[in-house]
Symmetry: C2
Subunit: 351 residues, 2 copies
C-alpha cells in the first residue's frame, strides 16, 4: 500500500467546499481501487487567517509544505478582507515561485453533458502550458513623480532558463500528443520580451524536429479559441498570456467552475501544486452551490502526476457520467448542489 502525503490548502470562499468534495471523491476512489492511500493534512491559510495573524501563511509555511508530496489548493482571495495582490503574492504566487513550479498545465476540452457557449464547438481537446514563475507578473518596477507627472513602470522579466523550461515541457507534451504546438507571442507590439520568446521557441524547436510549431499573436490566438478551438493541440504561453488564454479556454468549455490545473516542479525538488483555474467566488461561497468539478478534475491531474493514470481516467469518466446524466450545478445549467454532484461522482466510481 502506497501512502501519498498531501497538504490540503482549501484557502478562501468556495475553495473550502470544493476541496472537501474532491478529498471525499479521492478517498472513495482509493478505497475502491486499493493499493494507494491519500493522506491529507489541512492548513487553514487564507484571508481569514490573514485577518487574525497579519500574514497569509506562518513564517515556516514553506518549510512545512516542502515535506509533502504534493499540494492540493482550493482558491485564494477575498478582496473584501485582504487586497488581492497581498493575498495572492503572499500565498498562491509565493508558492508557485518559491517551489519553482515552472509550468502550469491547463487542459481545455469539451465535456459530455456540458453545453459550450459556442454554437458549433466540434470536439476540442487541447492543453495550455503556461509559464508560471516570471514574465509579466513581476514585482520589479515602481513609480516616479507625482500628480499629473506620475509615471508607473512595470518590468516583465524573461529569463532564458525559465523560457526554455516551459517550451521544452510544451514540446515534449506535444510529442506525446499530436505533435502540434502553437506558441503565443506579440512580437509585433511588445518588442523586447516577445522577440526573445520567439527566438527561444525557434531554438528549442530544433530539439523536437517532429513537432509542428507555429506562432500566433495573442490577440488572434484568443480569438481563435472562440472561432476554431478544435484546431489546437498544445499551446504554450507566457505567464500573462497563459492566464488570459486559459480563462477563454474555460469559457468555451462552459464554465470556469470545471477547469483544472497543475503547477509542476519539473525537477522534483519541491512538491507540485494542484489547483482549479477558478477563484474563491465570494458571491456563492458557503451556499453549497459551487461546482466541485474543477477541483475534482484537478485531483485527476494529481493522480496522473503520481502515475495513477488509470485511476485518473476512472475519475474523469465518472465526472462525465454525472454531467451527462444531468446532475449539474447552476453554472453549467443544472440545479444540483455541490454535495449532490459529489455524491453522484462517488456513486459512479463505485458502479
Amino acid at each position: 500500500m502506497r501512502k501519498i502525503e498531501l497538504a490540503a490548502l482549501p484557502g478562501d470562499g468556495v475553495g473550502i467546499e470544493v476541496v472537501e468534495s474532491a478529498k471525499d471523491v479521492l478517498h472513495t476512489l482509493a478505497d475502491a481501487h486499493g493499493g494507494v492511500e491519500f493522506s491529507f493534512t489541512t492548513f487553514p491559510w487564507s484571508c481569514d487567517y490573514y485577518v487574525e495573524h497579519g500574514e497569509m501563511m506562518p513564517k515556516d509555511a514553506m518549510n512545512t509544505l516542502k515535506q509533502f508530496e504534493a499540494l492540493f489548493l482550493g482558491a485564494v482571495g477575498n478582496p473584501a478582507l485582504v487586497p488581492d495582490h497581498i493575498s495572492l503574492w503572499g500565498m498562491l504566487i509565493k508558492i508557485r515561485r518559491e517551489f519553482e513550479l515552472s509550468v502550469n498545465v491547463r487542459p481545455a476540452k469539451r465535456m459530455k453533458g456540458i453545453a459550450s457557449p459556442l454554437a458549433n464547438p466540434k470536439d476540442f481537446d487541447f492543453v495550455v502550458v503556461r509559464e508560471n514563475s516570471e514574465g509579466e507578473y513581476s514585482e520589479v518596477g515602481g513609480r516616479i513623480h507625482q500628480g499629473e507627472n506620475e509615471v508607473a513602470i512595470q518590468n516583465a522579466v524573461f529569463t532564458r532558463r525559465a523560457t526554455e523550461k516551459v517550451l521544452r515541457y510544451a514540446f515534449q507534451l506535444a510529442e506525446k500528443r499530436n505533435s502540434r504546438l502553437v506558441s503565443a507571442t506579440k512580437s509585433n507590439g511588445i518588442v523586447h520580451s516577445m522577440p526573445f520568446w520567439d527566438e527561444v521557441t525557434k531554438a528549442v524547436a530544433t530539439e523536437y524536429p517532429h513537432v509542428n510549431v507555429q506562432s500566433n499573436h495573442i490577440d488572434a490566438l484568443a480569438a481563435f479559441f472562440v472561432t476554431k478551438p478544435s484546431e489546437f493541440d498544445v499551446v504554450v504561453a507566457s505567464n500573462l498570456f497563459g492566464d488570459i488564454l486559459t480563462d477563454v479556454g474555460s469559457a468555451i468549455m462552459g464554465s470556469i467552475g470545471i477547469a483544472p490545473s497543475a503547477n509542476i516542479n519539473l525537477e522534483g525538488r519541491y512538491p507540485s501544486m494542484f489547483e482549479p483555474v477558478h477563484g474563491s467566488a465570494p458571491d456563492i461561497a458557503g451556499k453549497g452551490l459551487a461546482n466541485p468539478i474543477g477541483q475534482i478534475w484537478t485531483a485527476k491531474m494529481m493522480l496522473d502526476h503520481f502515475g495513477y493514470d488509470e485511476l485518473g481516467q476512472t475519475l474523469l469518466d465518472a465526472i462525465e457520467d454525472v454531467t451527462e446524466s444531468g446532475i449539474k450545478t447552476r453554472d453549467i445549467g443544472g440545479t444540483s448542489t455541490t454535495k449532490e454532484v459529489t455524491e453522484a461522482i462517488k456513486s459512479s466510481i463505485l458502479q
Copy 2:
C-alpha cells in the same frame, strides 16, 4: 460644399482592396447626399515600399500627413517581406504615437445577417476604448548576458497623463451611452502598472458620478466577452488588453473582417486615423475575396468624427441591408467577392 481632405494609406495585402472599396462607397454616399466631398490623396507606403526604399515611409511623411484632416488606413504588414515589428513600428504604431492618437475606439456589435460563433449571443453592442500610445507596447527594455544566462527585460510605461486621457474619454462615452463602464485590470498579478491604472480609474470616476464603473481582471473579462457579451456597454483597457479584447470582440461578431476602429487625437492637433481591426491577410490578398465591411464600417466612424452622424447611420444601415440579404464574403459564410459586396452596399445607399 465642404471638401474634406483625406490621406489614404492602403498599406499592404487586402488593405489595398478594401480601401478602394470603402473610397468608392464614400464617394457614392457623398454624391447622393450632397454638401460634402471627400478628396483622397493616396500614399503607397507599405512593405513593398520598404523593399524598394529601405523605410516604410519617407523622412518627411509625418509632415506630409499632418496636412490632412484625417488618415484612412488599410492594413500594414507583410512578414514575408519585412519583419512585423519593423513594418508596424515604422508606420502604424509610429503614426499612432507621433500624432498622439491617444485612444483607439473599437465597437463590437451583433450585425444583422452575420452569424456569431456564440450559440446564444443575444444582442450585444459595446465599445472598447483602448489606450493607444504607451503601456505594454514599448521600446523600453533590452537584454543582458548571453546563452543560458540571457535575460530579456520589457518595460511597460504608464503615464498619468495618458491613462487619465483614455479613462476620461471612456467615462464621457459611457455618459453618452448607458453609463456603464468596465475597466480592464490585472492588479492581482501585475503589481505596479495595474494598481496604478486602478488608482487613476478611481480618481477619474469621481468626475463622472453618474457612471457606474467596475473593474474586471483581463482573464475574466476576456471570458465574459464569450459568456455574457450583452452585459457590456463601454470597456476601457490598456494598449495590450484592448488589443486582445477587441480581437475577441471581433470573433464574437462573426469575423475580424468586419470590425472597425478609430484612432483619435483628442486635442485636434493632428489628424485622427481610421483603420479596420484586421490585418493585411497575405493569404487572401489580391484575390478579390477580402471582406470590405471592416473598412467601410471604419469609414462610418470617420463620418461620425466629422459630425456626419446621419450619413454614418445610412452607411451602417446599408451594410446591414446587404449582410441581411446574404451578399457576404467567405469569412462570414457567403460566396460573394469584395466587389460584389461593395456594389451591393452602393446600391443600397442609392435606394
